[in-house]
């Protein structure tokens, strides 16, 4: 097991609740040359379908995970090694590979999955990972929740103390949204930081959460160390209200599926469980009112009420802008709004949920951004 020439490909752990995943298909054949970041194998969990990207370079020597088969997290599903490593060594590596057991203590040490904090903006749910000196707060978008950062929170936790919250009206936080304005949501974000005694944080916002983070940075520049805006609202006037209105209106699986498919470059990412989880959220008392009011105030008739790009140009904190090239909710052209002022990356093969679809690349960009 100490053979450093041989790199295992294992079933990933996407979020704390994931215990197993199904291999759905290999994107590279055995013998293929693999570069870091190449998409190797497709995996489906009960929450979402995704792709495992190479963390190492080499030749794909074994594809052990059989399509259609379910494997526990950290099980060996493939092997990478250079061409000159003999087959016999690879076979010995495979035979000796033991799935690292996740002990109960390790699971407990990771802390509770979710916590709650009382703020003037209501009771808010959040997750906290990592112990770094820097503090990162992840802010999801319209209709989302902290699980939108499933593929990011653990990767960032190596470099910072990372918080992900459910905004008011979302996830398992209180459903009251005040006057349903951007100011209420950014105020809630600052109230959340106050309640947890976070003096200053790097804010990462997705979609509407990007506008919330931007507004917080404009109103409270001293509290915001940097901004990362992903498929963000607030950078241009256009928005596909067909998505937001459809999300508010859909009450059944049949109506919700085509709405959610607009979020992804690859529509097959939308699993039955993902749709069911969102319907369960939407059925909670108060959600319909909160979402209707927010969409009417922030995204009426194909327009965004708040375009903050010009004001953001006059601020000092570092800004990273990331977009999925085929975003069907907010056009990727908005990534250019802060050209010259911000680091801008538009990623091909990704839609609005770029932080899920291209998680390794987005995590890399965020970790670089935190270093600045």
């Amino acid at each position: 097991m100490t053979d450093t020439r041989i790199k295992p490909i294992v079933m990933p752990k996407w979020g704390l609740s994931m215990a197993e995943g199904k291999v759905t298909g290999w994107l590279k054949p055995e013998g293929a040359k693999i570069a870091v970041g190449d998409e190797i194998v497709e995996v489906e969990t009960d929450k979402i379908a995704g792709v495992v990207e190479a963390g190492d370079a080499g030749v794909l020597r074994r594809t052990l995970g059989a399509p259609g088969t379910v494997y526990p997290v950290k099980a060996l599903i493939g092997v990478l090694a250079d061409e000159d490593v003999p087959d016999v060594d690879i076979d010995a590596f495979v035979a000796a590979f033991a799935v690292p057991a996740e002990t109960e203590e390790a699971a407990d040490a990771a802390g509770p999955r979710y916590e709650f904090v009382d703020t003037p903006a209501g009771r808010l749910r959040y997750a906290r990972r990592g112990e770094g000196e820097k503090t990162v707060v992840l802010v999801h978008g319209f209709g989302g929740d902290l699980d939108n950062w499933l593929f990011n929170i653990d990767a960032l936790a190596g470099a910072a103390t990372v918080y992900a919250l459910d905004l008011p009206g979302h996830g398992q936080s209180d459903k009251a949204v005040g006057e349903a304005s951007l100011a209420f949501l950014s105020g809630a974000l600052i109230a959340f930081m106050d309640a947890l005694a976070i003096p200053r944080a790097h804010l990462v916002g997705h979609s509407m959460g990007g506008a919330v983070a931007s507004a917080a940075a404009l109103e409270h520049p001293g509290r915001v160390a940097s901004l990362a805006l992903i498929g963000s609202a607030g950078l241009g006037p256009e928005i596909n209200s067909g998505y937001t209105d459809g999300f508010v209106a859909a009450g059944s699986r049949r109506d919700m599926k085509p709405v959610l498919e607009q979020l992804f470059h690859e529509p097959a990412t939308v699993t039955r469980q993902l749709i069911e989880d969102i319907l369960k959220y939407k059925r909670l008392d108060g959600v319909d009112g909160a979402l209707s009011a927010l969409s009417a105030n922030l995204f009426p008739a194909q327009r965004q009420t708040h375009v903050l790009a010009d004001r953001l140009k006059e601020t000092d904190a570092p800004i990273l802008v990331v977009w999925g090239e085929t975003d069907r909710v907010i056009p990727a052209a908005h990534a250019g709004a802060l050209e010259g002022r911000a680091t801008v990356e538009v990623l091909p093969g990704a839609g609005h949920m770029v932080q899920m679809e291209k998680s390794s690349r987005v995590n890399e960009l965020l970790l670089d951004h935190l270093k600045r």
Binding site: R125, G251, R254, D285
Partner: protein, 340 residues
């Protein structure tokens, strides 16, 4: 906040939350308080299986222990509903509906229609259904089809704790009379249930398993038998069954059923009710009429036999549709798999 809760406690929580939200919600039933007027009533049992336990301590006289006269208190609940309350009456066993059927069939179900939409009757009648409880022929029937036959009634039969809470809240908020059927052998089953109130809309079936080879339609307890059968079929025959939980029988979600059969070409309906004029015949007939071109095999029905529920445990166990019987019915729609 979500946590694991039993079907029984999910119903208790739905009643508690709606009583807190709406002062017109009241509960009536035999022994639902338990020990009224005697010492210890605050922690009394609460109904025949304890579903309403603890609610008297929280809501006091909004729970009414009634005399043993179903015709009287179901009538009282329907009258109160017509006068602006939202009563939830517990009938213990759906089998007892016989003695109060006029109030339901000829009064509650007709008010809105006969008064030109000027009257509404927001009453919920909760009752236990189903066999397997060793309670003999008069306490075990699945009489759902008797109520789906009557226009003006809504009929609900959840299969799990999450749906039980959301559908009961919807039933209480609904302006029409709702017959809410609780399978007694599901009371101990657990699921993740949010602590907050939520409502599941009527007429929205739940696809509980995806599959391409056959559509299995069911509701209540037998949804779990259908899932067992689907898992076995996947392992033994490589057949992937789509399993649909109807959740509400009136209104019924035809679109989800038809859409699924159009994909799979095969239908098996599982119903714990007796076979003649049942939910099973209804679904099979509807699919035959509206998706005939999609069908690649005759629709199959798996139901209880046309007999009273036996008291003999051995016979009662054979009475409820089993996973084996469901799997056998699926194989009848796939003769080549049967031969292989």
């Amino acid at each position: 906040m979500s946590r694991t809760l039993s079907f029984k406690l999910a119903i208790n929580e739905a009643l508690d939350l709606e009583m807190r939200r709406d002062p017109t919600v009241i509960l009536l039933g035999e022994d639902i308080v338990g020990g009224s007027g005697s010492p210890g009533e605050m922690d009394a049992w609460g109904g025949v299986l304890g579903v309403t336990k603890g609610l008297y301590g929280k809501h006091g006289n909004r729970l009414i222990d009634t005399p043993l006269s179903e015709s009287a208190y179901i009538g009282a609940a329907i009258g109160a509903a017509a006068c602006g309350m939202r009563p939830v009456a517990e009938l213990m066993f759906l089998d007892f509906m016989g003695v109060c059927f006029d109030q339901i069939l000829n009064q509650a179900a007709k008010f809105r229609y006969m008064f030109g939409g000027k009257a509404k009757t927001p009453v919920v009648i909760r009752a236990m259904v189903g066999a397997g409880f060793r309670a003999a022929a008069q306490h075990s029937q699945m009489l759902t089809p008797m109520f789906t036959h009557v226009p003006g009634l809504k009929v609900v039969c959840p299969s799990n704790a999450y749906d039980a809470k959301g559908l009961l809240i919807q039933s209480i908020r609904d302006d029409d009379p709702v017959i809410f059927c609780e399978h007694k052998n599901l009371y101990a089953s657990e699921a993740d249930v949010p602590a907050e109130p939520y409502a599941i809309p009527f007429g929205e079936a739940n696809v509980v398993r995806d599959g391409r080879d056959v559509t299995i339609v069911s509701y209540g307890l037998t949804v779990h038998r259908a899932l067992e059968a689907a898992a076995t079929l996947s392992k033994r025959s490589g057949l992937e069954a789509e399993v649909i939980d109807l959740r509400t029988l009136s209104p019924i979600d035809w679109d989800t059923v038809i859409e699924s059969v159009e994909n799979t070409g095969r239908l098996v309906v599982v119903d714990e009710a007796n076979p003649r004029c049942s939910i099973a015949t209804d679904v099979a007939a509807y699919v035959a009429q509206h998706a005939f071109g999609a069908l690649k095999a005759a629709p199959q029905m798996v139901t209880a036999p046309h007999t009273p529920v036996p008291f003999s445990p051995a016979l009662e166990d054979l009475y409820i549709p089993s996973a084996d019987a469901i799997a056998a019915a699926v194989l009848k729609t796939h003769p080549q798999a049967l031969a292989a």
